[in-house]
């Protein structure tokens, strides 16, 4: 197969960058999108040109490292998959393919198609964890968990933190990601304990990093490779409201030395 690629090239964070056109041929329909880019890069290296930089790691849809905004959609045209799970048979022979980095002020471009997603780490650091050590494996049923809750929690925990939700959102909002993390912990007894503090801190951090606000366009849900549902956003909003209105005040102990 042959393709015309329009790829965003940008030397470094300070560079303005722009689209550069490349033609590739002899591409197998069964090669993955990244194998196609690898092929292009081999050509570029042979010509002494700087190869295109892009993020990838597991190449099997589980790590959340890969990105790419392909023809106006994060992770390309297939639903419920990451870019590393995309194959060239999903494109028409001879098609022009636009490849751009995630766009969001909180995700600055580092080089070419690689963006800095450490804003997500910052949000996780603000509360996306359970503080106590879990110890050894407890006996089954010492902490009963309703099946429906564990299912919903597990669905939310499927989020791989790729950032496609932010990339697709008309407002570059991170609500789907944050709500997936809030939900996954808030639905389980171990996570419940810190739920009120967690949701407030994570939302405050999200806001401070410059992500946009949710206007319920739901592009995130349509593009999420793990098909995280926007019901999680409603759950986070509920948790947030309840925490703001009803959470017990934490006692402040001041120690004078």
């Amino acid at each position: 197969m042959i393709f015309t690629l329009k790829i965003w090239r940008q030397k470094d964070a300070a560079d303005k960058g722009g689209l550069v056109t490349y033609n590739v041929d002899d591409i197998s329909p069964d090669s993955s999108f990244f194998e196609m880019l690898d092929q292009l890069n081999q050509h570029l290296i042979a010509q002494g040109v700087d190869p295109v930089s892009f993020d990838h790691d597991c190449r099997e849809g589980i790590c959340g490292t890969c990105s790419l905004y392909i023809n106006g959609r994060p992770h390309g045209p297939l639903k419920g998959t990451t870019t590393c799970q995309l194959h060239m048979r999903s494109f028409r022979n001879g098609e022009t393919i636009f490849v751009e980095p995630w766009r969001c002020g909180a995700f600055p471009v580092i080089k070419d198609l690689i963006v800095d997603r450490s804003a997500f780490d910052r949000i996780i650091q603000a509360g996306g964890y359970v503080s106590v050590n879990s110890g050894g494996i407890p006996d089954a049923n010492t902490i009963p968990v309703p099946k429906s809750d564990s299912d919903a929690s597990f669905d939310a925990a499927a989020c791989i933190g790729c950032g496609a939700c932010v990339a697709s959102c008309p407002n570059a909002s991170a609500m789907l990601f944050v709500s997936a993390k809030v939900s996954h912990l808030a639905l389980l007894p171990q996570g419940r304990i810190e739920a009120a503090r967690r949701v407030q801190n994570m939302v405050a951090t999200m806001d401070s990093l410059g992500f946009g606000n949710c206007s319920n366009a739901y592009a995130c849900e349509a593009e999420c490779p793990k098909e995280i549902s926007v019901t999680n956003i409603a759950r986070m909003n509920r948790e947030f409201l309840a925490a703001k209105l009803f959470a017990e005040k934490e006692k402040q102990i001041s120690v004078s030395l």
């Binding site: 994060p74 969001c104 697709s168 008309p170 407002n171 926007v230």
Partner: protein, 205 residues
């Protein structure tokens, strides 16, 4: 924004209810009585202030959120987004602005006349909303502007009601389907209901 919006949603129903009295075949008696009640009852007078507050809050938040959402993506994509979104959700500020322009017109035509800022047309008392409406709707241009305003209000509401429930945390597979249907029905009833009035006056006079 969602809470202020939901409050306005209730107001619209009350307003529509009163306007529909215009259709009653009694020479405007019931409509005028309702208008007089709304204009004099002290509870309603107090509520008017709350209502203005609701409008101002809703608009201020709307503009603020839109600006914040624009700056959160300083460099835009070259390729147009192909992602599926909830219909009309991306155009809330646009439909909102059109409704706002209509609201300004509406204020000049009615509210400012009522409070005496704008002189009423000759021969019509400034509290006589009935003949005022009849006169306005007899003008085809005005009636069309009025209907366009409500068409866009309908677009606005269609997304607004379901989105507001999501924002206050009410999205659950048990009832979200119902909320969506109610939202669409509400938009059609409100926009349609307001539009029926000028149509009625243009067609059968």
């Amino acid at each position: 924004m969602a809470l202020a919006g939901l409050f306005l949603v209730v107001f619209l129903l009350v307003h529509l209810g009163i306007n529909l009295l215009l259709l009653a075949d009694d020479g405007g008696q019931s409509f005028s009585a309702a208008a007089a009640f709304m204009g004099t009852n002290p509870v309603i007078r107090l509520f008017e202030v709350v209502l203005f507050g609701g409008f101002l809050l809703h608009m201020a938040f709307g503009v603020l959120v839109t600006i914040r959402n624009r700056v959160s993506r300083p460099v835009r994509y070259q390729h147009k987004s192909q992602s599926e979104t909830s219909p009309l959700s991306k155009y809330m500020i646009h439909s909102g602005i059109i409704v706002f322009i209509f609201l300004v017109l509406h204020f000049i035509d009615f509210y400012f006349v009522k409070i005496g800022l704008v002189a009423p047309p000759a021969g019509i008392d400034r509290h006589d909303f009935y003949h005022r409406s009849l006169l306005l709707f007899s003008d085809k241009g005005y009636a069309s502007i009025y209907m366009i305003g409500f068409l866009f209000l309908g677009f606005h509401l269609n997304h607004a009601v379901q989105a507001a429930f999501q924002t206050i945390g009410m999205n659950h597979n048990k009832y979200i389907g119902t909320i969506k249907v109610v939202s669409i029905l509400y938009a059609i009833i409100v926009a349609g209901g307001f539009m029926v009035i000028p149509v009625r006056f243009m067609l059968f006079r």
